[in-house]
Amino acid sequence: MGAPFHFFSVAFRLVSNLRRAVDDLAQHALDAATAAGAGYADARVVRRRAQHVATKNGEVDTVSDAETEGIGVRVLVDGAWGFAGDPRLSEEGARDAALRAVSFARASASRARQRVVLAPLEPAGGDYEAPLERDPVEVPLEEKIALCLAAEEGMRRPEVKITEAMVRAMREDRVFRSSDGARASQRFVECGGGIDALAVSDDGRVQNRSYPSAHGGSSAQAGWEFVEGLELAREAERVGEEAAALLTADACPAAVTTIVVDAEQMVLQVHESVGHPTELDRVYGTEAAYAGTSFLKPDDLGSLRYGSEHMNVTADPTTPLGLGTFGWDDEGAPARRQPVVERGVLSGYLASRETSALLGRDLGGSMRADSWSRMPLVRMTNLHLEPGAGTLDDLLADVDEGLYLCTNKSWSIDDKRLNFQFGTQIAWEIKKGKLGRMLRDPTYTGVTPEFWGRLDAVAGLGEWRLFGLTNCGKGQPGQHAHVSHGTSPARFRDVQVGVRQ
């Protein structure tokens, strides 16, 4: 009994000492910034390790194992922002980052038209760490490769020329301190996986299918048990069969019809047409030059009809397994669940302290940075379409003629998040409440509030799934956010489908 106890005692002391040292570095940066004239400062010390394993056609395609660490210091000088990042976790690195941030803020302040004001925030802090059974970063590489190879196996058939499987794992320790007195020490552990089959016909036609989600599978803030629970190998045969069958399927016709959208494609629909437009920095124009703005205006809150009464959307950074789950955001605001759309009416925004102050309402808590070297931005956390009632079969049963659309393939939406065109990997005709023939290359298009106004049913909790995506881009320099969305299949009436050149 003595040896293990001694081991844990030493390990605990090492972790405690490390945490204290990192905390001291953050404080050192704050002291340097305020001494140089910053009216407000915050510092994030981040250490991350990220692994990615992919196999392709039965061979290892990618094995990456990357670590990065550094400190990011954000300051307000005379009401103007400045930010600097430095990879050196030393007093010198912390001080340099602070002084460089102050110098850039001061240069910007001299030409500023108005001072940035931050909404008040009660100093808070503590520790956050999501529960997990098995740290995915510590799972041996050979086990990850074996899982991928086994998952690929079932997809193989003559028409499927490319089979791919991937898993990822990430562990990040983040310490935050602000001159307002906030302090938080958080550990984030993520993992995920997915499979893809690409079928190519003899005459050069190409189709693909994915599981559990396109564009990198699905991830969660969880232990390796999440990846095992995806049961990639179990789904592989269906994925391969559907990819092959799509080669000879009829093309999706052009029509205005009823669509039932599966939970995975609803993730994209919620993300692009509700998540981004409700980011308050976009509403105020901060992202105008790149990601775009929003069709929403600040005073639309509480009155704008976003969709039908079946539409309820919630931002929830407390969702178990969510990639956007945390104790405190990257400016120290505590996680809290907030409605964004209630019974079809806009009822909330995703916000920061700065945009909350502009709006005059405290909606903060959505500030996130993708690394120590980037300034936090207003980002989605976990944004969910709340479940309705019934099953997918119930949704289908009330369709005389329509399409069931599954798994995202392509997406594009305008700079105000109004006009969109999305494509899915596969569709099935719905005839008199039953699924019929398979269709290839389905697309649908709409204008955000009109489209959501045509929502007439959302399936219930039994169909609700949480998906985690890691490729949400925003900002200049660019940042990738990891966000989760919980969705159920949903039904929309009178939608234009089959848009193709």
Binding site: T62, S64, R111, R113, V200, T286, A289, D415
Partner: protein, 454 residues
């Protein structure tokens, strides 16, 4: 010896295996991002990143770190070795780049490298002051980047590059116009002129009208054709996509697919672009002729796809670093031949009737095999009538075939412009396309969106 090469050689020295290499990226960058005519997100970044690759008995492992002290590099080398031990033999591994000379290229400018935070903010302010009466949104950014690759085979190459860009969206609630400029010499940029161009265009976008969905003749400014070309290049001019049958060019090399005025190549050594001496595997950059007078000639290659092709192919110097090679080789230096039109107005005259497009937004590849791309026009869309640009249009949704667009070329400007294509995600790696403005008879509009403005 550059800092990057020193780190690469230290990392290789720390590695234990049959062979090893290291690629290094060192960045010092600044971003004066502005919105509503004020700098609101000023960012300064320093970082160093080292990727070590170790080969043991045909097994390959790699690891990346930004801890560049002795312990950090040793730990990365150890993790790479362990990854190799735990991986199966990689039959597709083409071996490390042997010792080779790389071309001398331009691309580094001391004045750009030494720009201070105050000067970045000053350049942003110069842009803002040139667009009075409208809000200005965008950025002024500059960076110094060092790249190096070293290997146990004795190959050791390094390069320092600089880049600078200014981007301006001049906008009010009802109007918006766009312009940008980029160069490896900050002295080439005139932030005030870029902002003035955006503001002038914005003033012409008020009271925008609509058009019916149809296939139109169109004139595309360099900003617009550059983005379409890069998406097409990423999905179709990539040897991995070509080998896997996903590329528009799969099975079609040697065929006349496009208008004879469409000639396209990739040349990392061109001083008009963002010159690179070698790719991220250390392979010397080559000029690759991709389309010659409308005939598809080739795609770009890295070492792995060259081995996979198995027909004597060699890398053309378009490889990514080891952990990213699943994307295949990327044409980062696309260059389109210009045409005969002295000005964009000449193209408008050629088009006669149609649509004038300044810039695109949020492209999505609907069908990579057929080169079909969707997206929106933005910040300067106009009707062309009687050979002149006339009234403004709302943002238009297009879903169009890029191959059809360049098969239907009506004309191109003589001058080509370097258009930045980096969105500055992850590590700084400046790249762009050299393109003319073009006129085409095939640009398919499938819907209308919101009007110009915020």
């Amino acid at each position: 010896m550059s800092r990057a090469l020193e780190l690469a050689e230290r990392a290789v020295g720390a590695a234990q295996g049959d062979e090893a290499d290291a690629s290094v990226h060192v960045e010092s960058s600044g971003f004066a991002r502005f919105a509503d005519s004020a700098v609101h997100q000023p960012t300064l970044i320093r970082d160093e990143s080292v990727t070590v690759r170790v080969v043991r008995g045909g097994r390959v492992g790699c690891a990346t770190t930004n801890r560049t002290d002795g312990d950090g590099l040793a730990a990365a080398a150890r993790r790479a070795g362990e990854a190799a031990d735990r991986s199966p033999v990689d039959p597709g591994f083409p071996g490390l780049q042997p010792r080779a000379d790389v071309p001398d290229v331009e691309g580094y400018d001391e004045a750009t490298s030494s720009l201070s935070a105050e000067e970045l903010a000053g350049s942003a302010a110069a842009a803002i002051e040139a667009a009075p009466g409208l809000g200005l949104y965008g950025y002024y950014t500059s960076a110094t980047t060092e790249l190096a690759v070293a290997s146990s085979s004795g190959h050791a190459v390094s390069q320092a590059t600089t880049d600078a860009s200014v981007l301006a969206l001049a906008a009010s609630d009802e109007a918006s116009g766009y312009a940008e400029a980029t160069s490896w010499r900050a002295g080439d940029l005139d932030p005030a002129a870029v902002a003035a161009e955006a503001a002038e265009k914005a003033e012409r976008t008020r009271d925008a009208g609509e058009v019916e969905p149809a296939t139109y003749r169109a004139v595309l400014e360099p900003y617009a054709i550059s983005e379409l070309l890069f998406y097409f290049g990423f999905t179709s001019l990539n040897a991995l996509a070509w080998l896997e049958g996903r590329s528009y060019l799969s099975g079609r090399l040697g065929e006349r697919l496009f208008h004879e005025s469409f000639t396209l190549w990739d040349d990392g050594r061109d001083p008009r672009g963002y010159p690179k001496a070698f790719d991220l595997e250390g392979v010397p950059k080559q000029r690759v002729l991709l389309v010659e007078e409308g005939v598809a000639r080739d795609v770009v290659w890295d070492r792995r796809t060259a081995k996979q092709a198995g027909d004597g192919r060699a890398s053309t110097g378009h490889g990514l670093s080891a952990p990213a090679q699943g994307f295949g080789p990327i044409p980062f230096n696309l260059s389109m031949a210009g045409g005969d039109a002295a000005t964009v107005d000449g193209l408008v005259e050629l088009a006669g009737e149609g649509i004038y497009v300044t810039r695109l937004h949020y492209l999505g590849v609907v069908d990579p095999r057929e080169g079909i791309i969707t997206g929106m026009t933005r910040d300067g869309t106009f009707r062309i009538e009687g050979g002149r640009v006339t009234t403004p249009l709302v943002n238009l949704r297009f879903t169009t075939s890029f191959p059809a667009l360049v098969a239907g070329l009506l004309g191109l400007t003589e001058d080509v412009t370097l258009v930045n294509r980096s969105d500055f995600y992850d590590e700084r790696y400046p790249f762009g396309t050299l393109v003319p403005a073009v006129a085409t008879d095939s640009f398919t509009i499938v819907g209308t969106g919101s009007g110009p403005g915020l």
